[in-house]
């Protein structure tokens, strides 16, 4: 197992490097630049600004300087758009926000989604099953950019129970709506995955054997069926977790939470190169890390895949 982890880490570093280089190149070749505006800057002013940020250097030099900054000082550079902040500031401020609502959404999605899926599978074709399937389909077809404004309309304007946005240091009343809006579609996916996987397991030979032995349903489900059921779910959870904790453009922009999800998409529109690169690095390394965690979990759950 240890050698497996070492091997994965060894592959992760060049993967990250390639990711950074490709993103850097893609970004630089996109038309426009961070300092374009409705009113083009006079050449002299633009030259001064580009010199300040080192953008007057050839591309390879910019890339080398950029990577050197990351490796030696863990410095991801300045934001060109938000001039009073560095990329490190933006991550330090925005990542804890998305981490908080992301982890809560993740836990909620697993608990509720998993429970719904299992319940639906055990009572297949009962009212409970129809109810669960109905809910999950509903949750999946209602995108969060539709759901979020509806939540605000209902809970802020009509009922007056919750503030319509902001983060306020992560107070619970500011967290509820972002969590609901973010977790529902994941919850639905988990419920459907769990349901179909459980149904398949329940029809397999070893469960029939267990039933033939006269084991009670409770034991069959919890001891025998659950582990193989969650296998396909686990492979979905890795990317889902990264997706949730790195935030969502929709959630951050509709609820004004200040999370990194908004900065990421906005940085692309603004051609805020360093912010984009920094967040790509964050997202990329988290994706690699959690794919690795999923692989390890896999091996632990299913000895057949032990590596």
């Amino acid at each position: 197992m240890l050698s497996f982890i070492v091997r994965r880490v060894a592959v992760a570093i060049p993967t990250l490097l390639v990711l950074l280089i490709i993103s850097f190149w893609l970004m630089q070749t996109a038309p426009g630049g961070p300092f374009n505006s409705e009113r083009p800057l006079p050449a002299q002013v633009l030259a001064n600004i580009e010199a300040k940020y080192g953008l007057d250097q050839p591309m390879w030099k910019q890339l080398v300087d950029y990577l050197k900054g990351i490796i030696t000082q863990f410095d991801f550079g300045p934001s060109y758009k938000y001039k009073d902040r560095t990329v490190n500031d933006i991550i330090a401020q925005g990542f804890p926000v998305t981490l908080k609502y992301g982890v809560i959404s993740f836990v909620l999605a697993i608990v509720v989604g998993g429970a719904l899926g299992i319940a639906a599978a055990i009572r297949q074709n009962s009212w409970l099953d129809y109810f669960a399937v109905g809910i999950t389909i509903g949750a999946q077809v209602l995108p969060n950019f539709v759901m979020a404004p509806i939540l605000i309309l209902v809970f802020t304007l009509w009922l007056g129970w919750l503030p319509g946005g902001g983060w306020n240091g992560g107070q619970w009343d500011h967290v509820i709506m972002p969590v609901i809006a973010l977790s529902t579609s994941y919850m639905a996916s988990i419920a459907r995955l769990t349901r179909s996987s459980m149904l398949e397991v329940l029809r397999s030979n070893f469960i029939r054997t267990a039933r033939a032995k006269g084991l009670p349903d409770r034991v069959i489900i919890w001891r025998h069926a659950l582990k193989p059921t969650i296998l396909p779910v686990v492979s979905y959870l890795g990317p889902a977790f990264v997706g949730m904790v790195t935030g969502s453009f929709i959630i951050d922009s509709i609820f004004s939470t200040g999370g990194v999800g908004y900065f990421y998409v906005n940085a692309a529109f603004n051609r805020d190169y360093a912010v984009m690169m920094g967040l790509t690095f964050l997202l990329g390394s988290m994706t690699i890390l959690f794919n690795m965690v999923v692989d390890i979990l896999y091996a632990w759950i299913d000895p057949k895949i032990r590596l």
């Binding site: 083009p40 010199a51 300040k52 946005g165 509709i254 200040g258």
Partner: protein, 538 residues
Amino acid sequence: MNVSTKSILMASALAFASPALAAAPEGVALADDQTFTYRVLDEHSSVDPQIVEDVSGSEIVRDLFEGLYNQDADGNLVPGVALSHSVSDDRLTYTFTLRPEAKWSDGNPVTAHDFVYGWQRLADPENASPYQWYVEVMGLANAGPVMAGEAPLEDLGVKAIDDHTLEVTLASPMAYFPLTTTHASTFPSPKWVIDEHGADWIKPENIVSNGAYVLTEHVPQERSVRERNEMYWDNENTVIDRVEALVINDENVALTRFLAGELDRTEVPAGQYPALKEEYPDTALSFPRLCNYYFNFNLSEDGPESTKDVRVRQALSYAIDRDIIVENVLQGGQFPAYTFTPAATAGFEQPETEYSTWTQEERNAKAKELLAEAGYGPDNPLSFSYLYNTDEAHRKVAIAVSQMWKQTLGVDVTLENQEWQTFLETRGNHDFEIARGAWCGDYNEASTFLDLVQTNSGYNDADYSNAEVDELLAEAKSMEDPQANYTRVEEIIAEEMPIIPIYHYAGVYMMSPEISGSWPVQNVEQNWYSKDLYKVAQ
């Protein structure tokens, strides 16, 4: 130094204006909670006066810092840190007398040296301000060489005679120079704080400012908070205690939150004004703004041959029914435009261009005639593409106009939209046939618009060049009353139609009746100061 009569008049007018600064009129019952909360579309770029470049950042900077002059509710100059100024006979030297009681929030006096430092900082190539070019707009002596780093900062046309006397030297006479001193980038900066904290000086824990408010909290992409500056010279007459700017990207969500009582002010989403006005007549407001919306032809070498024919350009302009655009498409109280400069511009008498006096039927008939004369018709249909940046309102205007062109003239228009940065690059490279354009005035004087059609203007996207226009505009700079020149330039624009004026902007807001009574709706630049606002009890 000889002081011209005009400047004495100006100085006395300013002196008279000052008692009016007391925010709330007597007898008004004020609300207990004087917190003003408003929505901003996006996070501000900075609150450093010499770095800030966006509208929402400038709004905050105008509260945190105070320049030589402020604007009153009508947009007229009123004393800020400067009490008055005098002008030399050659109209090149302006001497400002500064208010001795003005203080920074750390208790230090505000001196002429702080202005010199701020202005030099603006021009300093090392500081790389995106508004560095503003020192040229102000017409300061030696601005060019200082900006290029070829002359020392001390050569810039600004110096402190003593702590409370600031002397400004211009490169050439410019009647509207005092108007430029309300711009955020001309505000003073505290050298001792910047020296100590570097780029972090504008963080709430470090910042020292001289305006009516201090920055007390800033959570990027969520909110920023400013509170009363106890050291401000007019703190006694300031009513609003706390101002919160909440970042809400989605205008519909902002509207919901406004209706839930979380905000005192937000923008009205496009097309919703008539319905909101009917439901909330005291809350939905529309008033003129200093901005225009127009189409650029491409007259450069890369442009299509067809629109280089003035008859084609006129035909396309005449065939647009601007009343439909403002009344049926935008529906926010905007104004149909037949001149480039908005009528709301101070001191600008909007000339009546010939085609503005015709009915739309007459314009359409004339348009058909001109296009046929130019050789386009059913056998030889005119076609081109129209480029705009991705946005719902721009799309609606584009569709409406292309329909008008199609129906009236049989012209085929391909609509092409691009994401903002790509659009800017494409338009800047003259890689378009017709492209959207819009401009908001930097200061309230017609040249801020008309300079765009000057041959060497960096923003002349149409690549239009007319020697007479250049001459008229150059001459206007130093004229006491340039209206005749401006009228002539507008006439030339109407004759040659290098751009098609479409409409002039309106500010369309939902504003709580508590605050709207003190809102400067007459100030077309919308340079508002929280210190002049107050909330009335409801």
